[in-house]
């Protein structure tokens, strides 16, 4: 029986594990904490699909067109076609697994509008779509856990992949209970570890998404893709602990963005783009907010208390609880924040990386969203990716080559021992905070070559000292061993941004503000012995 090792238990990991188990494979699903703690539970808005009860005029082709257009023509057409065509079946599958979708009077799944889409096609579950999907998939996986088909490994973190001659044979995990590394072999390994929030410190997402796995794999010969494309959500509120998303629904209900000038309100989005200016795509709104150089406010008070409580109860609660702001009486001070990563591990249409038997799915993989993601397409991609990977793994040859992994384990043990032995009071967090500051500053919404170069110099410096500093061993060992590869990923991201000398989607360069056909392809980056190389995938080698 084929053994599949899935790293990560968010929506993507769950989808892959369930699909593999349904096909009779044996799955080990690894994550430090249970699925309920994954970032997937934060997804609120919806999941896109053109179902039988769609709006008049909508079609799968239109979903495909919107997705490709949103991605500024650098996402693979075939991959996107597969994604959009599967969407209606995925909604059915989710329903049967127990996802509590909001339905209309006829019992059809309700849909809401999301930016960048020609029709209303985001299916949703109240204001907690991601959470309801996680609940359903956890139940479905539980059925297979009962029979032993799926085994969960909690309190375990990815350490490295077991790779030999371009082929993957399993992974080294760090067992937090025994505080030791261990090797797990498998026929295929599927990475489903989410985005890379830690590069930027405070974001709208989870602290568990740190990008370590992508960074580590890069150093192990795995190619990464489109790292420069990072979606900033235009409306978030700053709280003492994180940036919290203020749903697009506020602007959907008529919310107006403004700045104050000489005691007067200036509705800068409406001045620039007319009546529907507040609903422009996320990257444009974020850029316009940045250009004001001022505190921007979002006003919805005119809707009246009753309507606000009825239509935007979560936003009302959130602002009141975390900032003491009553949105029925006051405007919301908003700032753009890092929200989603279009870039990640480069995968082919079957979700395999450039390393045989190593797959990547969900937000850590880069395939469907091109230069910008449409809201509601990432949950879809997380579930679809899991299904596609499972199909491909079913077809793959079994991998029974015996290998000796004692050298890899010994290396890991030594590294962990040196981290544990340190008496230094210096926390890893300090370098992580410096990194976040650098990335926020130099890889912001508006970039230029000088800033990017400065960022690269700074991160290179952190990298050069990361191995020399002795860190506080009372922090989690994972924090210590993940630092260097998080820095490596950050440097790779800045290098990708520097290499794309044009503006496209979420990547805006003030020194090259126009799009250029010469760059109408994905950026690929690889790493070899300390050297990074970027190139454009003009031959679409990943798109088939």
């Amino acid at each position: 029986m084929k053994h599949v090792l899935v790293i990560g238990s968010g929506i993507a990991g769950l989808s892959c594990a369930i699909n593999c188990a349904q096909k009779g494979m044996q799955v080990t699903m690894v994550s430090p904490f249970p699925s309920e703690r994954a970032q997937s539970v934060l997804a609120a808005g919806g999941i896109n699909a053109v179902t039988a009860s769609c709006e008049v005029g909508d079609s799968v082709d239109s979903h495909i067109d919107d997705t490709l257009k949103g991605g500024c023509d650098i996402a693979g057409k075939e991959a996107v076609r597969g994604l959009c065509e599967s969407a209606p079946d995925i909604i059915d599958w989710l329903k049967k697994n127990g996802t509590v979708f909001t339905t209309d009077a006829d019992g059809n799944v309700s849909k809401r509008a999301f930016g960048g889409q020609s029709y209303r096609r985001s299916c949703f579950c109240g204001a907690s779509t991601g959470k309801q999907i996680v609940t359903a998939l956890v139940m479905e996986a539980r059925g297979f856990e009962g029979t032993g088909r799926i085994k969960r490994r909690l309190w375990a973190d990815f350490y490295s992949a077991l790779i030999k001659d371009g082929e993957c044979f399993g992974a080294v995990l760090y067992n937090e209970a025994t505080r030791k590394p261990e090797a797990i072999t498998a026929d295929c390994v599927v990475i489903a570890t989410g985005g890379q929030n830690a590069l930027f410190g405070k974001t709208t997402g989870s602290t568990q998404c740190d990008g370590y796995v992508a960074g580590k794999l890069l150093t192990q010969g795995v190619e990464l893709k489109n790292l420069e494309f990072i979606q900033y959500h235009p409306t978030t509120i700053e709280t003492a602990q994180k940036r919290m998303l203020i749903s697009e629904a506020v602007r959907g209900e008529g919310g107006r963005l403004y700045i104050e000038e000489n005691g007067r309100r200036v509705y800068f989005m409406e001045d620039k783009y007319g009546e529907r200016g507040n609903l422009m795509p996320r990257d444009i709104v974020s850029r316009c907010i940045e250009e004001t150089g001022k505190q921007v406010y979002l006003d919805i008070t005119f809707l009246g208390k009753e309507k606000i409580l009825q239509k935007l109860p979560e936003v009302y609660e959130l602002c009141k609880k975390y900032r003491g702001i009553d949105i029925t009486k006051e405007s919301i001070p908003v700032t753009p924040s890092v929200h989603f990563f279009m870039g990640g591990i480069a995968v082919k249409n079957n979700h395999e990386t450039n390393i045989k038997n190593l797959y990547a799915i969900g937000e850590c993989a880069s395939i469907y969203h091109g230069a910008n993601r449409l809201g509601g397409n990432s949950l879809l991609a997380a579930i679809y990716g899991g299904k596609v990977a499972a199909n491909s793994i079913e077809q793959a040859e079994s991998n029974d080559t015996p290998n000796d992994w004692s050298k890899e384990l010994k290396e890991a043990e030594e590294k962990l021992r040196s981290l544990k032995g340190s008496k230094s009071p210096y926390p890893v967090k300090y370098i992580r905070d410096m990194l976040a500051e650098t990335m926020q500053e130099d890889l912001g919404i508006v970039r230029d070559a000088d800033k990017l170069q400065k960022g690269i110099d700074d991160v290179s410096f952190y990298l050069s000292v990361a191995d020399k500093i002795r860190f506080d061993s009372s922090e989690m060992a994972y924090f210590g061993y993940s630092l260097k590869d998080i820095l490596t990923l950050a440097k790779a991201t800045l290098l990708c941004a520097l290499s794309r000398k044009e503006s496209r989607g979420a990547h805006y360069r003030s020194d090259c503000p126009a799009a250029s056909d010469a760059y109408k392809a994905a950026t690929i980056i690889r790493y070899d012995n300390g050297e990074f190389t970027t190139y454009l995938d003009t031959e679409d080698k990943y798109e088939n």
Partner: protein, 224 residues
Amino acid sequence: MRIKILRQMSPVTEPYWQEFEGDFAKDQSVAGMLDELNYKDDLFDVNGDPAPRIQWECSCLQGMCGACAMVINGRPALACEVFLRDIKGDTVVIEPLKKFATISDLVVDRGIIHQNLKKANVYIGEYEGADPKEYDHMYAAGKCLKCGLCLEVCPNYSDGSSFYGAAFANDCFLIASRSKSRKKAITKSYQKNFEQGCSKALSCVDVCPMKIPTLASIAKMNRR
């Protein structure tokens, strides 16, 4: 502000109290405060002794994932949702949840919640379709964080070996209301592992951060 924390280095070492002093904004949450405290240059307690960094669990930092459940001034709660402005007096006492084994400091092993659901095979199997009238209740139950706060406060829950607690009852309702193949078995398991042990103290309802109507789940399951 004085912060008193029940600490424990590992599952097999003895717990001990340690106190810290610090100034924090009133709008800071207990989670944010722990983070700030942890990343002062060197961590020293009130006696000037160096202290290891405080271990605690977090993910969403906005009350949506259940990671940061702990006992704050005697009350089980999510640390990212308790604000210093609401703390009475100027001392915060923080302890790990006590009904679960401590891994280190405020990190506990809540795996038993999942093990019990797995043992009872709480999954849908053959889907029967749902009664639209049940939508609101199912949606509410679907929001359970598996945070364990309801188990912490329950006078009948001890270690999950026989009585499984409110989180279990809610998941049973989610299955029994929609599964063709598992309804009977789940109802039986519910009777054995919940109904027999529940004395309807209902402290689980008050403590639940997601305001899940556990009482309604119990009422519907008891009627089956």
